[in-house]
Amino acid sequence: MTAMPKEQTTTAPVPSRGVGAAAVQLADVAVRFRSKKRDVTALSEVSLDVAPGEFVAIVGPSGCGKSTLLKLVAGLLTASSGEVRLGGERVTGPRHDIGYVFQRAALLEWRSALRNILLQAEIRRMPSARARGRADELIRMTGLTGFEDAYPHELSGGMQQRVALCRALLHEPPVLLMDEPFGALDALTREQMNTELNRIWRSTGTTVLLVTHSISEAVYLADRVVVMSPRPGTITEIIEVGLPAERDYAETLGRPEFRAATARIRDLLGAVSAQE
């Protein structure tokens, strides 16, 4: 690990632009899990600034701490050292100003699609008329119209994940955290969800942090792609994608910027796995 000099051009932490400038800010964050036998370092020296409205994808091999990173931002985990800031505020416990989407939709089986979405509103005690209006808007946006009364077991994987996405966006969170949200979907549905997510991101202006295993998904969706190496999880490089925000799926895949970025990431991940 140490033999290979890390590229410092893009990984160097951005000098503090003043508190509140970044939507998400990680400064020299490390996470160590203590077990009886040994200490495991899940993340080390991770520094990352995400600008408001930016879409950042995180790729890396399994066990590189990608999910850990999202949990840190959400306040579901505490960093062993370093500092995590969300909306300029230091993260010390579970944060409520985020939306979270997991790989599994994690829907309540006894609630219809609409009532699953409205769970967010019930717990937050949002005014019901406002919540209902916002839910209808999201249902239209994600193509769930006509499925409001369907129960999770009546919905396909793609539809379930759409419900989870609506639930995560209901309270208009400034930051959306997605942990391999489309990992369990078939390739076709996945492409479709990617297109939809791109559209939703543009129309909501939410900051998005997306963890994924798919290089093309990362490049198609993100402004920047964070490439990570495993054990301990560190940022190998951050790639600027340089594609326009509005992206047609087929057209984007054919663009030289897309091919250059995916090739670069594939190289980096290959180098990472060769080190092991």
Binding site: L76, R104, E109, Y151, H153, Q192
Partner: protein, 287 residues
């Protein structure tokens, strides 16, 4: 969903499938398909019983004929009804108390690891003690009335309720709990909206075991010392070598157990339609 909403439904995106539920006819056909084997087996047993009695292979005072048993069931219906009611009453009261105490104990144990570590081993130990063996003691303490029967029914039915409820409350999707943390849910909100409903399928499987065990508990109580109830009827019939009455008592007792089991199952279907329908689909798919 209104008709206009249906009409305006956009073309469904790829990968979208809303599975239609089975029709009433299909459901009936499936029920018949699933139940003919056990029904046939039961009828076979009755046929065997009838054949043995008819051929007089065994003395009638040892195994009465189905006809003699039926005569008792119809001829002494009033007597059986009166005692069945006592047993049913004891069973239900014991069951309800076991459920209330069991659910409460499970909730406390899941939310307090100290209580769990203290109570759980003791519960396990208490489960190992044969309740039938302590039944005479309860009669000494509580007399010949209804109280010792209910207490034994409670003790026997309590364990499956606690175990299933603890399992159910712990089986909640951890991601669902993390999600509720990001929503800023208060503990009682997480409990009412997520944990408790999620535990109900587990609880109901425990309730089905508990309700049949409660019948056993009540009858055991009656065996030890009673002047009413089906346990008393059977003991009396046994003493008089009145095997037709003994068989009739057994049949009625089994019937009570089956009816209570079915009632719990119907309650499950009504209260957890989402769970029942999921089970129907999972019967034909393998995960």
């Amino acid at each position: 969903m209104s008709e206009s909403a249906l009409a305006k439904r956009p073309a469904e995106p790829a990968g979208v499938a809303r599975r239609a539920g089975p029709t009433a006819g299909e459901r009936l056909a499936r029920a018949a398909e699933q139940s003919w084997r056990p029904v046939a087996l039961l009828l076979g047993c009755f046929a065997l019983w009838w054949a043995i009695a008819a051929a007089e292979l065994v003395e009638p005072y040892l195994v009465p004929s189905p006809g003699a048993t039926l005569d008792v069931l119809t001829g002494k219906a009033g007597y059986l009804w009166q005692h069945s009611w006592v047993t049913t009453y004891e069973t239900l009261l014991g069951f309800v108390i076991a459920v209330a105490v069991g659910v409460l104990a499970a909730v406390v144990m899941v939310y307090s690891s100290t209580v769990e570590r203290t109570l759980y081993p003791v519960l396990l130990f208490a489960q190992v003690v044969p309740k039938i063996a302590i039944a005479p003691l309860f009669v000494v303490w509580l007399g010949f009335g209804i109280a010792p029967k209910i207490l034994i029914a409670v003790l026997i039915a309590f364990f499956p309720v606690v175990i299933s409820m603890v399992t159910g409350l712990k089986a909640v999707d951890p991601e669902m709990l993390q999600l509720s943390a990001t929503m800023g849910a208060k503990p009682w909100q997480t409990f009412l909206k997520i944990r408790f409903p999620a535990s109900l399928p587990h609880l109901f499987s425990g309730l089905k075991v508990a309700v049949t065990l409660a019948v056993t508990g009540a009858v055991v109580g009656e065996f030890v010392g009673a002047n009413e109830g089906l346990g008393y009827v059977i003991l009396q019939a046994n003493g008089n070598l009145d095997t037709p009455m003994l068989f009739a008592g057994l049949l009625v007792m089994s019937l009570i157990g089956v009816v209570l089991f079915v009632v719990v199952e119907i309650a499950e279907k009504l209260l957890l339609p989402w769970h029942a329908s999921r089970r129907e689909t999972s019967a034909t798919t393998t995960y």
